[in-house]
């Protein structure tokens, strides 16, 4: 019983901390001035937040444990020792660079390949972007993304805990770029992601661009960087998606016909575009 309380406590503190960090920014520097803090579907995003913290993080870590274990068993020790004999800063650069490269292409694939899009579209189904909507993500999408972003560290055998500062920064910045904030940072946005860039990634167009995770460098290199001087008119996707938590989790895993039958049978609402 105590551990349930501990989990709830940690989740509550995280939610409170994020609200304290981002809500004032969204109020003072709003990207969409008419968007309220308690906007439509905020409860759905809260469900995703709670699900991520209370349910799915365990599954993701468990999968990664086994995945990294498998990789460890097939990668020659000689290779690892060779990598680890380099200076720490060089290893750190390699890990960050390859993580960004892999996640960039993996993300592009998610938008291109229909099977991957089925899961990734859950994240894009948010019609209102803010710090809470950042957490809208299918657990299998999480496994895919977090697995790939950690792949270079697994392969190179790099001790990620020595990059704790970078990792923490990336984590909170990833939430920031989803927030309803418009605070242009000038040329700095070519180095580090900003909400005005990532908002365009959430444009209705499935291939809108800006696929890079945190730094837009990969987008610049591969020609998918876009940064108009205004906010997109509408966020979301053109497809119909369930408007409830369970529906969003189940729908991507079922054939379309089966889902149609189920949604009709249980009268599951789907958002109309």
């Amino acid at each position: 019983m105590e551990y349930i309380w501990d989990m709830l406590e940690a989740t509550g503190i995280s939610l409170l901390f994020l609200a304290i960090v981002f809500v004032p920014m969204e109020l003072v520097f709003p990207a969409k001035r008419n968007q309220k803090i308690f906007r439509p579907n905020w409860i759905l995003d809260l469900c995703f937040f709670l699900g991520q913290y209370l349910l799915w993080s365990g599954l993701v870590i468990w999968t990664l444990d086994y995945f990294s274990e498998y990789l460890s068993s097939i990668i020659p020790l000689v290779f690892k020792h060779l990598v680890q004999s380099q200076a720490w800063y060089l290893q750190a650069f390699e890990v960050i660079f390859f993580s960004d490269l892999i996640i960039y292409w993996a993300h592009r694939l998610q938008h291109r390949v229909n099977f991957l899009w089925r899961f990734h579209k859950v994240h894009h189904s948010a019609r209102h972007l803010d710090w809470l909507a950042a957490h809208r993500e299918h657990p299998l999408d999480s496994i895919y993304t977090v697995g790939l972003i950690n792949l270079p560290a697994f392969i190179l055998g790099f001790p990620l805990e020595t990059l704790a500062v970078v990792i923490a920064f990336r984590g909170i910045w990833a939430i920031y770029i989803h927030s309803n904030v418009r605070l242009p940072v000038g040329p700095l946005r070519m180095l580090i992601g900003a909400p005005e860039l990532h908002h365009w990634h959430h444009d209705m167009d499935r291939d809108a661009g800006n696929y890079a995770n945190i730094s837009p460098l990969m987008d610049i290199i591969f020609g998918t960087y876009i940064c108009p001087d205004k906010e997109p008119e509408r966020f979301g996707i053109k497809e119909k998606t369930p408007d409830n938590y369970v529906g969003q989790l189940v729908e991507p895993m079922l054939p379309k016909r089966t889902w149609k039958r189920i949604s009709k049978r249980f009268k599951i609402l789907e958002s109309e575009r």
């Binding site: 551990y3 501990d6 989990m7 940690a10 989740t11 503190i13 995280s14 901390f17 994020l18 304290i20 960090v21 004032p24 920014m25 003072v28 520097f29 991520q52 913290y53 993080s57 365990g58 993701v60 870590i61 468990w62 990664l64 444990d65 990294s68 274990e69 990789l71 460890s72 680890q84 993580s99 996640i103 950042a134 809208r136 993500e137 999480s142 993304t145 977090v146 972003i149 950690n150 560290a153 697994f154 055998g157 790099f158 001790p159 990620l160 805990e161 990059l163 704790a164 500062v165 990792i167 923490a168 920064f169 990336r170 984590g171 909170i172 910045w173 990833a174 939430i175 605070l183 995770n213």
Partner: protein, 150 residues
């Protein structure tokens, strides 16, 4: 003017919170320094040492995972796991299946992956501290001592 002040204050607060958060997660602030003084062979760890190593290994690995563009970074996930029966069951199941020989190998295998700290220097494992971890270990040690006394 008032608007400017509010904007300035909000921006400074935001940046301060981000810096504090990053510093906290990086272990520069808010982590109990007494943790460093815990001797891996000392009383706190002693009764739980074997489990602690395994659990710590998992914790370090978890805390060291790179977050995606959306997920899981704010809370100390460590707390989730310490008392999580799922993880304990998984660890126990593994140990039961693999036996003593492989258990040793497991620790080694962990260290050759992302939990590299263990392989390099067992003591540095304990430096990857967490105040909740200390509490957990202390609690575990106390429970264990109580059981023995009873």
């Amino acid at each position: 003017m008032k608007k400017r002040l509010i904007q300035g204050f909000t921006l400074v607060s935001f940046l301060t919170l981000i810096v504090l958060f990053v510093a906290y997660k990086g272990g520069f602030i808010g982590r109990s320094s007494d943790y460093l003084h815990i001797d891996p062979n000392g009383t706190v760890i002693k009764n739980n040492q074997e489990d602690s190593v395994t659990i710590l290994d998992t914790v370090i690995r978890e805390e060291a995972l790179m977050p995606s563009s959306k997920s899981m970074i704010i809370s100390d996930q460590a707390k989730f796991k310490f008392d999580s029966t799922i993880y304990h069951k998984l660890i126990e199941e593994y140990h039961r299946k693999e036996g003593e020989e492989n258990k040793k190998q497991k620790v080694y295998m962990y260290s050759s992956k992302s939990g590299y700290v263990i392989d390099r220097d067992r003591e540095s494992l304990w430096k990857s501290n967490d105040s909740m971890l200390i509490e957990y270990l202390k609690r575990g040690a106390t429970d264990s001592t109580d059981k023995k006394n009873n």
